[in-house]
């Protein structure tokens, strides 16, 4: 088992209103899984993914990574985010000042790789994702689909155990969206890369190994 989320709870208190977003959410991810999570807008999908990505803390419940309990504010959390997990946001969140190549090199340099080595690895990966011609472009010189592929590359560069993607195609038109999906599927099949993907697109979600729906703060296998 790569990652196991057990009985996660998360409640937001907004003014005097209590929103119980996650009540008892549990999920197990195995090597090579491609899991989709769907649900109504505002049901807490992003919240769940952030907790699994160690970007947010649950109010109760536990998270295990390779059978070790992990929390978002432990001293080892940055290292886990860097090496074991990859995160793709709905909006690409590439650093505007850096080229595609530099953006993808960042996680490598953060874990201590030299600039030269990091860049050559990043170049290899970007070429594999069909972006060989875009290496030195800045994010604002790339199309939406390209931006999202670059941020996928950034999530993959450190060979993480698991990639978490929050509506990676949410901002894209259907053809670009398909392009990114195909890429995810081929990475899953060729490299056995595990993914947990939040999506609105129920049709594409059906092509995954497992699909969960998040309703009333609980994950239900479809």
């Amino acid at each position: 088992m790569i990652l196991s989320a057990r009985n996660l709870k998360k409640t937001y208190i907004d003014s005097d209103q209590r929103i119980e977003v996650l009540k008892d959410a549990s999920l197990n991810v195995e090597q090579g899984d491609l899991i989709c999570i769907t649900g109504k807008s505002g049901c807490g999908k992003s919240t769940l993914l952030h907790i699994m990505g160690l970007l947010d803390a649950p109010d109760a419940g536990k998270l295990y990574l390779e059978d070790q309990e992990v929390t978002s504010n432990s001293p080892s959390a940055p290292q886990i985010r860097n090496q074991k997990l990859g995160f793709v946001f709905q909006f690409h969140y590439l650093i505007e000042d850096l080229t595609a190549l530099e953006n993808v090199s960042l996680p490598l340099m953060i874990c201590g790789e030299s600039e030269g080595k990091a860049k050559s690895k990043a170049q290899e990966l970007l070429s594999h994702l069909g972006l060989a011609q875009r290496l030195n472009r800045y994010p604002n010189q790339l199309s939406g689909g390209e931006q999202q592929r670059v941020s996928l590359a950034r999530a993959l560069i450190n060979n993480p155990q698991l990639v978490l993607a929050d509506e990676p195609t949410g901002n894209l038109d259907p053809s670009h969206s398909q392009e990114v999906w195909n890429l995810i599927k081929s990475l899953n099949q060729e490299l056995n890369q595990a993914f947990v993907i939040v999506t609105h697109d129920i049709e594409t979600a059906q092509t995954a190994d497992r699909v969960y729906e998040l309703t009333d703060g609980v994950l239900i296998l479809q």
Partner: protein, 404 residues
């Protein structure tokens, strides 16, 4: 240094226009430059004053004065003894016997109190460098006059002046019996030390003996050392060498407290002006804060990629730090230029009667450069580091949710 830090640092230095010289940094740069400039200029001028005052005190007075223990004159035998015992010593630059007295100088209806110092000028006169006009050695009945004194009395070289020695022990029914004579002004004396320049008259020993009716003996023996800073120590030794009849007084006894006072004043001014740098630091704090807000997405992304708060803080600190450091150095250059300009200008002169010396000079010492650099850098470093603490508390999710 971390690889990521090295990567960012390289970017900053490679593309300074894009990363460093931003409009948002202009006020920060100006603030630092001006405050550091004023701080350095202030320190340079005060240092100049201190150095100048000390040099004048040491150059225009004896480093060690040998006097009689009983407030008598030093006798001829005692003078010989002093020469015998001290003249071979390596630390001594010169030994000059001197006769000294307070007198009145008179020209027409103007009368001034003056200080007569008489030397055997042909045997060696340690203050020759202060002769600003005219020539020495002196002929008979010739004197050197402090240049302010000459100015006040409206005298110049070649003119005559009457020196008057009122002898209080010769009061007769007709009044005070005075000894007086006329002297020709052969040279003017200008040391920059205001008190000397407005009250000093220097004559030959023989003329002074006649006027003061002192056929032999000396008021004191002036000793000049190779290294004036050792005066106190040598002076102690001379007391042992010269025996109980004579006392030896180093310059420190009179002047050290004054110099201490000036030095304290200098560092007080330095502390006050350092607050200017702290005020400039407010601009630094605001520049850092603005940068954190502008770049909060980058901070969140770096955190989500596993960069620690410490590394991210350093990435930002380098960026501001490079500019701040550059501004400090430019500020120090500005300070040097300002002090040079103050030295060269002629609108404002110091009031000699208040400050002892009448010219403003700046003195840029390596020590002071380092002190200004360190103090400014530390203050600004704090102004960079404190607001960066905020990065530790920033939560990835809070930032990214706001952006959506």
């Amino acid at each position: 240094m971390d690889r990521l830090e090295r990567f960012y640092l390289k970017r900053y230095l490679k593309k300074p226009k894009r990363n460093l010289f931003r409009f948002s940094f202009v006020f920060m740069i100006l603030g630092i430059m001006l405050s550091v400039g004023i701080l350095s200029a202030g320190l340079n001028l005060f240092q100049g004053y201190e150095t100048n005052l000390k040099r004048l005190l040491l150059d225009s007075f004896a480093h060690i004065g040998i006097q009689s223990s009983y407030r008598n004159l030093i006798t001829e035998q005692q003078r010989e003894m002093v020469f015998d015992r001290l003249s071979q010593r390596k630390e001594i630059a010169s030994i000059t016997p001197c006769l000294e007295s307070a007198l009145m100088a008179q020209k027409g209806d103007k009368i001034r109190a003056i200080n007569l110092r008489a030397y055997d000028i042909s045997a060696g006169f340690p203050y020759a460098r202060y002769i600003s006009a005219g020539e020495i050695p002196l002929q008979e009945k010739e004197v050197i006059l402090g240049h302010y004194l000459a100015e006040e009395l409206g005298l110049s070289i070649g003119d005559e002046i009457t020196l008057n020695y009122p002898r209080l022990d010769r009061i007769t029914p007709l009044g005070i019996h005075a000894s007086q004579d006329k002297y020709r002004i052969a040279a003017l004396y200008r040391s920059g030390f205001y008190e000397s320049d407005r009250s000093l008259v220097i004559s030959n020993l023989s003329d002074a003996r006649a006027l003061l009716m002192i056929p032999s003996g000396y008021s004191k023996i002036e000793i000049r050392l190779q290294d004036a800073d050792k005066a106190a120590a040598w002076s102690k030794e001379y007391i042992n060498i010269l025996g109980p009849e004579l006392i030896s007084i180093p310059w420190n006894l009179y002047a050290e407290s004054l110099l201490h006072l000036v030095a304290i004043e200098k560092w007080l001014i330095f502390i006050v002006f350092s607050f200017l740098v702290l005020i400039a630091g407010i601009n630094v704090i605001s520049a850092v804060t603005t940068m954190i807000i502008d770049r909060n997405t980058e901070i969140a992304v770096l955190k989500s990629l596993g960069a620690t708060a410490g590394v991210i803080k350093r990435l930002f600190a380098y960026r501001i730090g490079i500019i701040a450091l550059l501004s400090v150095i430019l500020g120090q250059a500005l300070g040097a230029i300002v002090s040079w300009a103050v030295e060269k200008q002629s609108f404002y002169r110091l009031k000699g009667e208040v400050y002892f010396i009448d010219t403003l000079t700046a003195d840029i010492t390596f020590f002071n450069l380092v002190v200004v650099f360190l103090v400014a850098s530390i203050l600004i470093f704090l102004c960079i580091v404190l607001p960066l603490k905020r990065i530790e508390r920033m939560q990835v999710i809070d930032i990214l949710r706001h952006k959506q």
